[in-house]
């Protein structure tokens, strides 16, 4: 497996590629990777599990406004509330990031399988995994605010 830094760089590239090519939104890297996230407020998280040779979780945490913008741009429709369309769009973004991550971690993505994506939303919440994991948290700047891509990988 590549080093954490290499994986981080590839996730950065892959996130920008998905946003530019699929979501049609310009985003940029918003600084250095973080070691810890503050509680997420008025947010929605898309997540997908990784199973097989590598076990882990890929999550993308959006503040509400960014999630609405992303859904609007991705689906080409205006959305004002976190509804089923937003949940599906954010889940699909986690799924696409997870799909790319498979090929980042393993040659052509074999031996790694993705779970069903799901979303978490709420007024304020923290998102943590169980003990022994390597964690990567990457911040991105979207027009409507900062969002985070997080990878937790079992050691």
């Amino acid at each position: 497996m590549s080093s954490i830094t290499e994986i981080s760089n590839k996730i950065n590239e892959s996130t920008i590629e998905i946003f530019t090519g699929m979501v049609m939104m310009d985003i940029s890297i918003a600084g250095e990777p973080l070691t810890k996230l503050s509680p997420l407020k008025q947010s929605i998280t898309g997540m997908v599990g990784l199973a097989g040779v590598f076990r882990g979780v890929l999550a993308v945490h959006f503040p509400k406004q960014v999630a609405l913008d992303v859904t609007g741009s991705f689906l080409g429709m205006e959305v004002e509330e976190i509804n089923a369309d937003v949940q599906d769009a954010i889940g699909e973004i986690a799924n696409m990031l997870g799909g790319n991550l498979k090929t980042i971690l393993s040659d052509r993505g074999k031996d790694i399988q993705l779970s069903l994506p799901s979303t978490i939303s709420g007024d304020e919440y923290t998102f943590t995994s169980q003990a022994e994991v390597d964690q990567i948290i990457l911040p991105f700047q979207a027009p409507g605010g900062v969002f985070y891509v997080e990878l937790e990988l079992e050691r």
């Binding site: 779970s115 069903l116 799901s118 709420g122 169980q130």
Partner: protein
């Protein structure tokens, strides 16, 4: 396949062998799942022949009560111990489900558990997924075990 029965059996087994609290599944109504107001959800992804996500959803006092029973000590905050305990329960219930599915020829692999702690948290699968929610009652309160899945 009757996944709700598998979820019930796997959950009962984990509680009977590790937590020693009497729990009982509530009768499932046809009117759709009743939401559990949760302050803590532990989730684990399932991949393979059945793609899904399993979640254990607990109000704060139930999460602390279960953790206290499991660890044999009093637990008064929604912290590391609770996160680890409920995450482990998610892991074991998913493991039980995996065993049942393997016996029917469906192979699944598990991801790792993650835990969300907060106020009014809402977990949703994709709109195309099938959702099974089993509420359980216990002396310390109600909690839910939910599976969203797509069968391939």
């Amino acid at each position: 396949m009757e996944l709700d029965k598998s979820i019930i059996n796997a959950t009962l087994e984990v509680f009977a062998s590790m937590i020693f609290i009497d729990i009982a599944p509530e009768i499932l109504s046809e009117g759709g799942p009743k939401a559990i107001e949760a302050n803590l959800s532990s989730l684990i992804g399932l991949a393979g022949d059945l793609k899904g996500i399993l979640a254990i959803q607990c109000p704060a006092e139930v999460a602390m009560g279960i953790t206290g029973a499991m660890l044999g000590m009093e637990v008064t905050e929604l912290g590391e111990d609770v996160k680890d305990a409920i995450g482990e329960i998610a892991n074991m219930v998913a493991g039980g489900l995996k065993e049942t599915l393997t016996a029917t020829g469906k192979n699944i692999e598990l991801a790792i558990p993650t835990t969300v702690i907060g106020k009014s948290i809402r977990i949703s699968g994709l709109s195309g997924a099938t959702r099974v929610l089993v509420p359980f009652s216990s002396p310390i309160g109600r909690f839910g075990v939910e599976l969203s899945f797509i069968s391939s």
